[in-house]
Symmetry: C2
Subunit: 384 residues, 2 copies
């Protein structure tokens, strides 16, 4: 198995894109290739994520992207795994390069739903849940994650202020991130007085609907002569699943797919959680960040709330979590989210993260969840 | 690189499915695993294709399938490449198994659109084309393939009867295929009097909208102790692309992606077209079968029409083409089509093809096209 590097990564500002998804992802892919110092002609395979292209009346985006990049003969496919789509695409790129089937692969994710009204956009998002058993009965993601939050509060006494401390921290980080959807800090006061969406989750517990595009260039170590930027070495690339529906699971205070992915990833990377410098976690709702910290072994069960409220996960804390602002404040354009996490890690490793730069960059972990954890990806990145 | 086998394959009858896509693909996957003599618990990765799940309000089908199979912890992702989706999924499975990342992988494709009206179904299909430059101006696939047919007729004098001979042959084959959407032979008379859809393409030049599900079990040779059926050895697994839009290409009488895929596949398999016993080709329209025969090197440019009219590609001819009935008559449930081709080859290799059994089964080639050839897959299968 060959060593696989991330040699370039780029994203646009998440939020509302005036251009089409195709235009955005073409531009961002060229930027990622340029950052890598890799010509489009060196790409052997494109893995694209675009869950809701039908909202733009456009499926089969890969050949359009490759044509736009000037490499029409290069194979492409669309990879989806709900909110963890580009992480799944990154895993495919990793497998192709590690196995010697490609020297350079492009991972590109894009989503545009802002031209739809909120109900239509919500309907698209909700398709990640189980239609006959969940969505059809009115369950959408805020309600499903509220169920997890209720269970966590009932078992561990997790407080509103602890949930709020995730939101306050991530908004503070995003204020230093020019790629972020929201770039304004919020106070605990603002959080506590924001409208209730699905008890106990308030408005500021929820990530926004964002448009966005992000791209990552993956290459075999042997294929890169002189990297233009400090590469990320992919030390672990792990994907898992779990029982799709929460109502059939044995636990509601964590995600089994995350636990399994974490265990496998640390085994693959041959490191322990203590060695990780910072994390990009899947915080589609504040409770998700707390559960992920616990499921991945960074905090004992029920202890992540206090950890966060104590400031340990701030960007200059002991274990910075979501220095980018996370899905919560950087934004969550479904198919661009996983690649966006890698962009943050790439910029941190290259000390280009400005006011959100974390103190240590030895190992970083990216965690990306599909829906309520029916699927999960964990990647661990290190240095050469 | 390890030798990779197809050890099981199954499909339902293409046409109109009363059940949901999820129910169909779960049942068919279990049948493919049973034919392989492989327990679901042996599966390491599921690659699912389901382009238009949104029509059933269901994205993220992988975890639902794996949960239904009793293997919820197994990773899954959705792979799409328009009409060549399950071939793209098969390629990912091939790469995972050949590279040692999985011992057994499940490839599953399903599509259900029959609950929509024809206009809505057409709109979904048309999303495989280029929205701003093609679809928005009224171009859908019958019109786009009619353009190719016109160019072929203008350059080579291809006749209506030659196009019709593809339809008559494929309907004759499908009459012996219990999996086929249409199981009734047609005459040349019927063909020539069928309504014009997009000149020169008549009703019987066009494949139908079909629902359907098909699954393929892929395994490393080392992982199979005693195969329950005669396995297919994957001698080549190749994917390519081409300029997405026909109006930007230098040729309209063939598909550049097919030509490139064919060349690469024969090189990978280390065989020549002469060694291939029979073909499953992407005949979404009759002209597509003729172009594929020429692009893949089975006939000189412009000669495939006469070859077909002369009966050489009949199921008992010199080079049987689409013994299954092809997309034309077996049906074309977008995401199940590629896997459906493999089911046919599996049944032919196992001499289970009844009245459509071909005389020789040494090597078989499957060719699957995305849209008008923005993407293409070619697989070559042989014996142990």
């Amino acid at each position: 198995m060959r060593e696989v590097w991330v040699v370039g990564a780029a994203m646009n500002r998440f939020g509302k894109m005036p251009e089409t998804g195709r235009e955005a992802i073409t531009r961002v892919s060229l930027e990622a290739l340029d950052r890598a110092g890799v010509s489009p002609q060196a790409v052997n395979h494109t893995f694209l994520s675009n869950c809701f292209g039908v909202a733009e009346r456009q499926a089969h985006l890969g050949p359009l992207l490759n044509t736009g990049l000037g490499i029409p003969e290069v194979p492409s496919c669309t990879i989806e795994s709900a909110c963890s789509s580009t992480s799944a695409a990154l895993h495919e790129a990793f497998v192709h390069v590690a196995g010697g089937f490609a020297e350079v692969a492009l991972v590109a994710g894009v989503e545009k739903l802002s031209h739809l009204d909120t109900l239509a956009a919500t309907s698209y998002f909700a398709m990640g849940a189980d239609y006959p058993f969940e969505t059809r009965h009115g369950a959408t993601f805020p309600g499903l994650y509220a169920t997890l939050a209720n269970a966590h509060q009932a078992k561990f006494g997790t407080t509103a202020e602890e949930l709020g401390s995730v939101a306050v921290k991530n908004h503070a980080n995003a204020a230093h991130n020019p790629h972020a959807h929201f770039q304004k800090p919020i106070t605990m006061e603002t959080y506590l007085h924001s409208p209730m969406i699905a008890s106990p989750l308030r408005l500021y517990d929820c990530c926004p609907f964002s448009d966005g595009a992000a791209a990552v260039v993956v290459a075999a170590r042997e294929a890169v002569n002189r990297p233009r930027a400090e590469p990320l070495v992919i030390r672990a690339s792990v994907r898992t699943g779990s029982i799709a529906d929460m109502h059939d699971r044995s636990t509601l205070t964590g995600l089994p797919a995350t636990r399994l992915a974490g265990e496998k990833a640390f085994r693959q990377a041959k490191i322990t959680p203590e060695q990780v410098s910072f994390l990009e976690l899947h915080d589609c709702f504040t409770i998700a960040e707390l559960m992920a910290l616990e499921d991945l072994g960074f905090a004992p069960a029920g202890a992540a709330g206090k950890l966060t409220a104590d400031g340990e996960t701030a960007h200059d804390g002991r274990l910075p979590v979501n220095p980018s602002g996370g899905l919560k404040a950087k934004g969550h354009p479904v198919s661009a989210t996983g690649a966006g996490q890698v962009v943050e890690i790439f910029e941190q490793f290259n000390h280009q993260a400005g006011g959100r730069q974390v103190p240590r960059v030895e190992y970083a972990l990216a965690h990306n969840v599909g829906a309520t954890g029916g699927s999960c990806s964990v990647h661990i990145f290190g240095h050469r």
